[in-house]
């Protein structure tokens, strides 16, 4: 809870720092604040405290995901020096908005009441609508913002409708009360569950509600797309799983088949459409759709190993995405666009970047010795334990398709030449963040036990 307060106050403080033109202090203050927030979150470990008349519950699940969200944001902030300055004058607002979004994310992973879930999602989403449109003069950015907003509003409608129906069926917003209400047979409850599933599917871009994802990622500034792919997706899935684990687990026989269908749809939509994308950012957007499919597998397997699997997966995915988006930003800034051809010859001009990106896409593809391998491994494992063998087979086929398009960028970097490529300059923040990411991907790829047994 303290960490949530710190994040919120930090956001306001950053806003006011910008108002009084202390631009140089923005980043140090944000970083310090986030570190403090992460530390405070860690202090809540094993306390299992309820807040606000049982509206929020800071259990270990909430703490683990809060820390993940905060640290991912920290990594993104590490890349952001001189980034917003280039595209806008209102730098402080963007830090503040990202922090507000983070606060929303923390609420989403610690809710114990449907109202708090809604509030968390809205805090997160509304900040993002603005962030997507950061580049006010750029029509693509405006389009992204508007599309995201309209689709998001549409989704919120489903979510709220579902919430209302569940309240109607059970008479409570409280997750524990819903779980013990025994109203699982009523049509009202079932419709509510499905509508909430639709609403949440929008937020985590599960097919067929994913259509906004590539357009919004493409139009948004790279760093914001990175934020969406990592923090927002992690928070969304943590909320999805938390809701279905704590409130609807007993009714899983009824919604599991729907989740399985969504999972297949998402896997195929994401992977198949990604295959021939020639822009790296759009490719990453589609890949983020496909990763939502893998994560749905874990939701199918209700039980505590599911949260562990989702945690491992989101850690691996966030790390790899930070590296992939970060290098995409560098390359598109230096070479004019994020077309896959822009990556040609990167191995010669910037071996470190090429290596990092290779590692990142290997992790996304799930190649062993990277964190991503164990992400997929644990997700498949929990799905198999629940008897979804056919689903895992399909997922593995999709993972193989994934390798095809992920390796396109590696081929571009290592096997294609670009005669007039010059080395890309890295600022220290980038160097530090990418080094940390490389280290962690290897660390978790070799010692998955470090993160697999947290929850």
């Amino acid at each position: 809870m303290t960490s949530l307060i710190i994040v919120s106050v930090l956001a306001v403080a950053v806003l006011y720092l910008g108002l009084f033109k202390y631009k140089t202090a923005l980043l140090p203050v944000s970083v310090t604040g986030l570190l403090a927030a992460a530390a405070m979150a860690a202090m809540d470990w094993d306390l299992e405290k309820m807040y606000f008349s049982e509206m929020m519950l800071f259990d270990n699940y909430a703490v683990a995901f809060s820390i993940l969200l905060i640290l991912t944001t920290l990594l993104i902030f590490g890349l952001s020096r001189n980034y917003f300055e280039k595209i806008s004058n209102n730098v402080a607002e963007y830090y503040a908005l990202m922090l507000f979004a983070l606060a929303g994310g923390v609420v989403m992973v610690s809710f114990h009441n449907l109202a708090m879930l809604f509030i968390g999602i809205e805090i997160l989403s509304i900040s993002l609508y603005v962030l997507a449109g950061i580049r006010r003069k750029d029509p693509a950015s405006n389009e992204a913002s508007l599309k995201y907003f309209l689709m998001g509003a549409f989704a919120t409608g489903f979510l709220l409708f579902g919430t209302a129906l569940i309240y109607g069926a059970t008479g409570s917003f409280n997750l524990a009360a819903i779980a013990s209400s025994g109203a699982f047979e009523s049509a009202l409850f079932r419709a509510g569950v499905l509508l909430m599933m639709v609403g949440l599917s929008f937020k985590v871009s599960v097919a067929p509600f994913h259509t906004w994802t590539p357009d919004v990622y493409e139009g948004s500034p790279g760093l914001i797309a990175m934020f969406m792919a990592t923090v927002v997706k992690t928070a969304g899935f943590a909320a999805f799983l938390r809701l279905f684990l704590m409130a609807f687990a007993e009714a899983s026989a009824f919604w599991a088949i729907t989740v399985a269908i969504l999972c297949i749809l998402t896997l195929f939509a994401g992977n198949i459409t990604a295959v021939f994308q020639d822009r790296f950012k759009r490719l990453l957007a589609w890949s983020s759709v496909s990763h939502a499919g893998y994560l749905l597998l874990a939701i199918l397997a209700v039980g505590f190993s599911a949260s562990s699997a989702v945690l491992v997966y989101t850690i691996a995915y966030s790390l790899a995405s930070v590296a992939a988006f970060g290098i995409m930003i560098l390359v598109s800034r230096a070479r004019g666009n994020d077309h896959l051809d822009s990556f040609n010859g990167l191995a010669r001009t910037n071996p470190f970047l090429a290596f990092t990106l290779t590692l990142a896409v290997c992790s996304l593809a799930g190649i062993p010795l990277t964190a991503g391998f164990f992400g997929k491994f644990y997700v498949f494992k929990v799905a198999l334990a629940q008897g979804y063998t056919w689903l895992v087979v399909l997922a593995v086929i999709n993972a193989m398709i994934g390798i095809y398009y992920y390796f396109k960028v590696i081929i571009a970097m290592y096997m294609k030449e670009n005669a007039n490529a010059v080395a890309i300059q890295l600022n220290p923040g980038f160097r530090l963040v990418l080094s940390i990411v490389v280290f962690l991907i290897f660390l978790f790829g070799i010692f998955p036990g470090l993160i697999a047994n947290i929850l």
Partner: protein
């Protein structure tokens, strides 16, 4: 317990050399390479002394658990007992000497730093292999060794022939590795664990019960597993039928050959069989197979070595043949005899290779023994040490280490419970061949007139390891002396806690004396014959050469195994590949790819960018979801 330092140090050295290799000076790289090995050897010494002075209790050190899935939790766990100690000692100690030697040998090579990085990685992997507590980790080291041998054999990759040799080594050993992997799967299927201790305990209880019948997989299962493990061992240890890669592996720098032959690679198979002895004891058939493989190999390789003209190839075939002895011993159940022969072999074979390297280097990379000659006076240190090594290889009675270890095997072949007269005769013929080809090599190289001038002489970094290894080649045998000559059993009693000792069917002192005398006579006879033909009376050789030309060519080609495999496997394979250029099985996959492309086109249509299409799609999706639920 700081056991983990032993493999960690070479790995650390390799890591530093790989990451910072291009920035380090050769001197620095040499210090890191040798230093890490030296520390590792030192630490092995310290650990070994602690082990010996302590209760000799095996040590198990769990470093971390790799992952934990469905009750299967392979850990990165090290296991240290007397068998591991012997191997670790040889690997680190001989490895260290080879490292030191390499600083001299490779001093003018451009890839100096890369060389040491590979070398360290090689030794680190081998240490991992012998210290592994479970077969999965052992397999990791096993494959690491395979990879490093590939990298090092093809070290001078600018020459395509070296690349081909490296690929051959990699592919041929891979055949064995595949068998090994299948064996591991079967073991896991049968027992649900790959922990060596657990497997041996299971095998032991089966053995003390009603034999293989009480093994969970039945006698057939035990035999299948044992034979698959033999497959892996045969590949790595270059035994028939997978021995063909080793002579070609001479393409690598000579210290690499020394390392491969003495310490790190080919002995892995011996280690594997010795380590898994429990499984083999369950399956007499597999034991017979092992001893048969060993016997055939030692004879075939011995004959082949007789006809080689390349100094390193002679040594390569001699290694194959000596490993054949070890396999013979393993097949006889004379576990500690096999390990003892490995122990002494490591010293004299490293010595011979390093000596050969010094000769080749001095003669400006001349490897043909018939263009050498008269080096006795030119390179005195190399000559004396090489002579000692050769004497040990030929098992010169009483003074060399090789004699004591080989004698034990011969005696076991005769008097062991699985032994037979046939095996003893074959092994004795092998001993004769060994003496013959070894001293043929020595006499041709060091006697006679000088044919190639010596361009420069080896430095201290190269001669000191030679001297140390020469001392060991003489003295290492005295820790285990047959009981009619003094009865010292330091080595076998040291290993007794790990490896059972075989029962003798005859322990007649007379027979033992006879066997030893026969072996000694054969050795001396071989040396004498070599002296006769290559020093005293070389003209008589010319006539024989004419008469037995075909046989010699057959021997020279290593019994034509390469040609056999070429016509039996490679030709049909390439023919099949040519015929099947438009791959039939592939059409399934191209079909799948076409389908994916078609599907992609369809799904790409959804990216219209028009918001109302998106919303429509979502609404239809929601509708379908709600409709589905009606039917559940």
């Amino acid at each position: 317990m700081t056991l983990w330092l032993i493999p960690a140090l070479p790995y650390l050295g390799a890591l530093i050399l790989i990451l910072a290799g291009s920035k380090l000076s050769k001197q620095m790289a040499g210090i890191i390479g040798c230093g890490s090995m030296g520390l590792s050897a030192l630490w092995t010494g310290v650990t070994g002394i602690a082990f010996l002075s302590g209760g000799r209790e095996p040590v198990r050190l769990q470093l971390w658990e790799w992952f934990d899935v469905a009750g299967w939790n392979p850990g990165v766990t090290l296991y240290f007992d007397s068998l591991s100690l012997v191997f670790t000692f040889v690997i680190t100690f001989v490895g260290f000497l080879i490292h030191v030697y390499s600083t001299g040998y490779m001093a003018r090579d451009e890839g100096f730093n890369r060389f040491f990085a590979y070398l360290n990685l090689f030794v680190g992997s081998m240490l991992m292999l012998v210290l592994a507590d479970n077969l999965l980790l052992l397999y990791l080291g096993w494959e690491g060794v395979g990879l490093c041998s590939y990298l090092l054999i093809g070290f001078w990759y600018q020459d395509p022939a070296n690349g081909a040799a490296a690929r051959k080594a990699f592919i041929v050993t891979r055949i064995g590795d595949t068998a090994f992997a299948i064996g591991l799967f079967m073991l896991f299927q049968t027992l649900g664990t790959l922990n060596i201790g657990a497997i041996l305990a299971e095998a032991g209880s089966a053995l003390s019960g009603d034999g293989a019948a009480s093994w969970p997989g039945g006698p057939a299962g035990a035999t299948a597993i044992a034979l698959l493990l033999v497959g892996g061992a045969v590949g790595k240890s270059a035994q028939i039928p997978l021995q063909t890669w080793l002579p070609d592996a001479m393409a690598g720098p000579t210290p690499v050959s020394a390392l491969i032959h003495a310490a790190t690679m080919v002995t892995a198979g011996v280690y594997l069989i010795a380590r898994m002895h429990g499984i083999f004891e369950l399956s007499p058939v597999s034991m017979q197979v092992v001893s048969l493989i060993g016997t055939i190999t030692l004879l075939v390789a011995g004959c082949s070595a007789l006809c080689q003209s390349d100094l390193k190839r002679v040594l390569a075939y001699s290694t194959i043949s000596q490993i054949g002895y070890m396999f013979l011993a393993l097949g006889l159940g004379a576990w500690s005899a096999a390990i003892f022969h490995f122990f002494t072999h490591a010293f004299f074979k490293a010595l011979l290779f390093l000596g050969a390297g010094a000769i080749i280097e001095s003669l400006h990379h001349e490897q043909n023994i018939f263009r050498m000659g008269g080096l006795r006076k030119e390179l005195p240190v190399v000559f004396i040490t090489f002579l000692i090594g050769s004497a040990s290889l030929a098992a010169l009675p009483l003074v060399t280490a090789g004699f004591f270890s080989k004698d034990q095997i011969l005696w076991m072949a005769f008097a062991g419970e699985h032994g037979s007269l046939g095996l003893w005769i074959a092994a004795s013929v092998g001993a004769f061949l060994t003496a013959l080809y070894t001293f043929r090599m020595v006499f041709v190289t060091f006697w006679g007139e000088t044919k190639t001038p010596v361009t420069h002489r080896p430095g201290k970094a190269m001669t000191i390891p030679l001297i140390i290894l020469a001392l060991f080649s003489l003295l290492a045998g005295f820790i285990e002396v047959p009981h009619n000559l003094g009865h010292i059993t330091l080595f076998s009693s040291f290993l007794a806690s790990v490896l059972p000792s075989p029962e003798l069917i005859t322990d007649s002192l007379l027979m033992e004396w006879m066997s030893q005398a026969a072996a000694a006579l054969l050795t001396l006879g071989g040396i004498g014959l070599a002296y006769e033909y290559y020093v005293r009376n070389p003209q008589s050789l010319a006539g024989m050469k004419r008469n037995t030309g075909a046989l010699q060519r057959f021997f020279h080609s290593g019994f034509g195994f390469d040609r056999l495999y070429d016509s039996l496997l490679i030709q049909p394979y390439t023919w099949l590949a040519r015929v099947n250029r438009r791959d039939i099985t592939d059409s399934l996959y191209t079909g799948l790819a076409r389908f994916s492309i078609w599907l992609h086109r369809q799904s790409a249509q959804t990216q219209t960018g028009i918001l109302r299409h998106y919303l429509l799609g979502a609404a239809i999706g929601a509708l379908i979801i709600l409709t589905i639920s009606i039917f559940i």
